[in-house]
Each structure stands twice: as C-alpha cells, then as structure tokens.
C-alpha cells in the first residue's frame, strides 16, 4: 500500500478540530502517525503543544479516538512501560505510543526514556522536536540550536546574544542505547515517515524511537505556507539528516550528496535573523561534522547483524 493510498483511506484517529497554530506541521505529523498506527493504540501525550491544543481532551471530552493519557513531563516513558506490563499480564496486545515534545524527551523525560531503552520495554516513542518549550512561549531547551533567539536567550539590538550552546544530537544518543529501532523523520518527507512508523510497529522486543524535526511557525518566525518547505530545507542543507538505525546498524534513508547552502534554510527563519556569516558558519560546521560521522558509521555497516 502506498503512503498516499494509506493516508487517503485510513480513518483519522485525532479530533478534526484541534487548535494547533495555522499550518502547524506537528499536527500533520500526529495525524499521519496515528493513521498508520490505527485504532489498536494507546496514546500518551505529555504537557506540550499537542497536549495543549486539545488532543488529550477538554471538559470531559476526548481529542482522540484512541485512549489518550496526559502523563507528567518527566514520566511518559515509564508510565507506558507500566501500561505494557499490564497489557502483557492481561494477554492483550496494542501499540503503546508516546507522542512527546523535545522538552518531555530531550530534557525532563530523558531519564525515564533512557531507562525504558535500557530495560527493553516494548513501546513506540515519537518525539516531535521543535527546539523548545513552545506552548509556554518558546523557552530554550537542550535541543535548541546554537545562536537561536528564544524568550530565555534574548538578542540585543546589536544582534548579540541567542543561545550559547549547541543542541544535543538526540537521535544519535538514542541509537547508542542499542535499541532495536531508531529513526529520524521530517514532516516534509511523509512517505518516509509512514514507512518508519510501519517499521517501528514491527518491533516486538524493546523500544522503537522516532525523532521528528518540526520547525515551529509561531516560535521560530516562519510563514504558515512555508511550514513544509522550511522542514524540507533542514534536510536538504544536511542540518537534520534522515536515517534509521537498528541495533547500531545505520542507514541514511534520504542521502544528501549535494547540500544546499545553510543560508537557504536559516534565512527563512526569524529566530536566526540576527546571525552573521560567522555564526551561520559555526552551525554549518557542526551540521557537516554530524553528517560526516553519520556517513562513516553507515558506510562501515557496524553493529550487530
């Protein structure tokens, strides 16, 4: 079944009206992921945009057609591990899924997620990484790129300031847990995302982790209609490479042999507008270094078969 047939025919598992910002690509990601996973799923959405826009429900009503939980920011993965144990005890099977932002994954929820990865609890964890705490007004997270304006890393009139540290290379950190499936995805490559969710569903032992890079329109300062094209530029400039790893066996799923200049991407985003050529070059160097590392581990094959 092609991705188009699947998305055209499957039922949407999310409420038709959720109050995500106009053009939000996280809304697109959530609907796509849940169409692929289908009705036999249990969803957990910790505090973050997708909780805030009403997917976890409002006034006794639910925002999804599958059971949906609203765990704490820091215990999503552990809670789902418990749900899996309960299902196993009852002899039932369902997809146990987290849909969490980068704050609940890379920052506060990291210990719980790392624990689940190490113990080998069978859950699907999807992180939508928009580089910050968006629904509370864009505070920095440890995923935010260096130089970014955020409300907690302000920029002076002279263009000085912005975040002082690089963001974590989080999908790589998860891959180094030796889990059965880790993938990166982008809302601009929907057929690729659909296939990766299908791969995650095939994992019968241990954690499947998918890291989706979602440029945030409101927080980053991007025009609504450029929602998808900016996400695509992040891939085409090698800023966010798309790959998958099975027990450390890496494969780049969307190779970028001739990257576009990073300025094509950063110039479309207001949070980078104060950066001069030197600070852009710094971001570019890190992106290139991470891509070279990825190519090296992919070419070598590595890992266990």
């Amino acid at each position: 079944m092609s991705a188009l047939d699947l998305l055209a025919e499957r039922e949407d598992m999310i409420s038709p009206g959720i109050s995500a910002c106009v053009g939000c690509n996280v809304e697109l990601t959530l609907r796509t992921v849940m169409k692929v996973l289908g009705p036999n799923s249990i969803l957990a959405i910790p505090p973050g945009c997708m909780g805030g826009v009403g997917v976890v429900g409002w006034n006794k009503q639910s925002g999804a057609k599958v059971p949906v939980f609203f765990p704490l920011l820091d215990n999503t993965a552990s809670m789902l591990a418990g749900i899996r144990l309960a299902l196993d005890a009852k002899g039932r099977d369902a997809h146990v899924v987290a849909f969490a932002g980068d704050g609940a994954t890379v920052d506060a929820g990291f210990q719980a997620l790392s624990g689940v990865a190490e113990r080998g609890d069978r859950i699907i964890y999807i992180c939508y990484d928009n580089e910050g705490y968006m629904n509370t007004g864009y505070q920095r997270s440890s995923s935010t790129s260096k130089g970014s304006w955020t409300s907690t890393t302000p920029v002076s009139k002279e263009g000085q300031g912005g975040k002082r540290q690089h963001g974590k290379d989080f999908p790589m950190i998860m891959a180094m847990h030796d889990v059965p499936y880790v993938a990166t995805a982008s809302p601009a490559y929907i057929p690729d995302l659909v296939r990766k969710v299908e791969e995650a569903m095939k994992v019968k032992e241990g954690l499947a982790y998918i890291h989706v890079y979602n440029p945030c329109l409101t927080g980053w300062g991007i025009r609504a209609e450029e929602s998808i094209s900016v996400a695509r530029l992040a891939v085409k400039t090698r800023f966010f490479p798309l790959y998958e790893a099975r027990n450390r066996k890496f494969k780049i799923t969307v190779p970028v042999p001739n990257p576009l200049p990073l300025e094509d991407y950063t110039s479309r985003i207001k949070k980078f507008s104060h950066l001069g050529p030197e600070r852009i070059a710094e971001l570019k160097d890190l992106a290139e270094e991470r891509y070279r590392f990825l190519e090296a581990v992919s070419a070598g094959g590595g890992g266990r078969a």
Binding site: S15, G23, L28
Partner: protein, 88 residues
C-alpha cells in the same frame, strides 16, 4: 453536530472535543481540477486532514480547514489558488 463528528466514537469521556477551526480561516483553497495531475501532494501535506480523495479526484472539505495555504505552496502543478474569505 456535523456528520464527521457523528462518525467518531470515543473510548473515554463524553464525546469528541472539536474546536471549530474552520472559523479561523481568512483564505480558502480552491483546486483547479483541469490542471490537477492527481498526485495527491495536497492530501499528504494538509496539516488538518482536510483533503479527501473522491473517485480519484482530490477535493477539499472546508469544515475544519484553517486556510494555512500549505497545499497551495506544496502543489507541484501550482493549481491550488487561495481565495480571500468574505465576512461571515
């Protein structure tokens, strides 16, 4: 309650929560069916799942469409026009 909502059965709570996001729209997409190549890019990338495939053609269900213009920007044939909405 629209027909779309009636289709929805919730496992928990009293029903489905659906904000009337169609009311946010300041512009609406219109597909030129003559120019459309039926590739389905609009359906793949619509954030609100407002594009339907009906007998091979792609049509827009405006009920919850927020008018973000992602479909118009992504269409490879550029056959989707954004029309300014009048007063409701």
């Amino acid at each position: 309650m629209s027909t779309l909502e009636k289709d929805y059965v919730c496992p928990v709570g009293e029903g489905i929560y659906a904000a009337n996001t169609g009311d946010w729209r300041t512009q609406r997409p219109e597909i030129d069916q003559e120019k459309c190549s039926r590739c389905g890019t609009c359906l793949l990338y619509c954030p609100t799942n407002s594009v339907r495939r009906v007998e091979g053609r792609f049509v827009i269900d405006l009920g919850y469409c927020k008018g973000c213009a992602v479909c118009a920007a992504e269409c490879p044939k550029q056959c989707i026009a954004m029309i300014r909405e009048g007063r409701k």
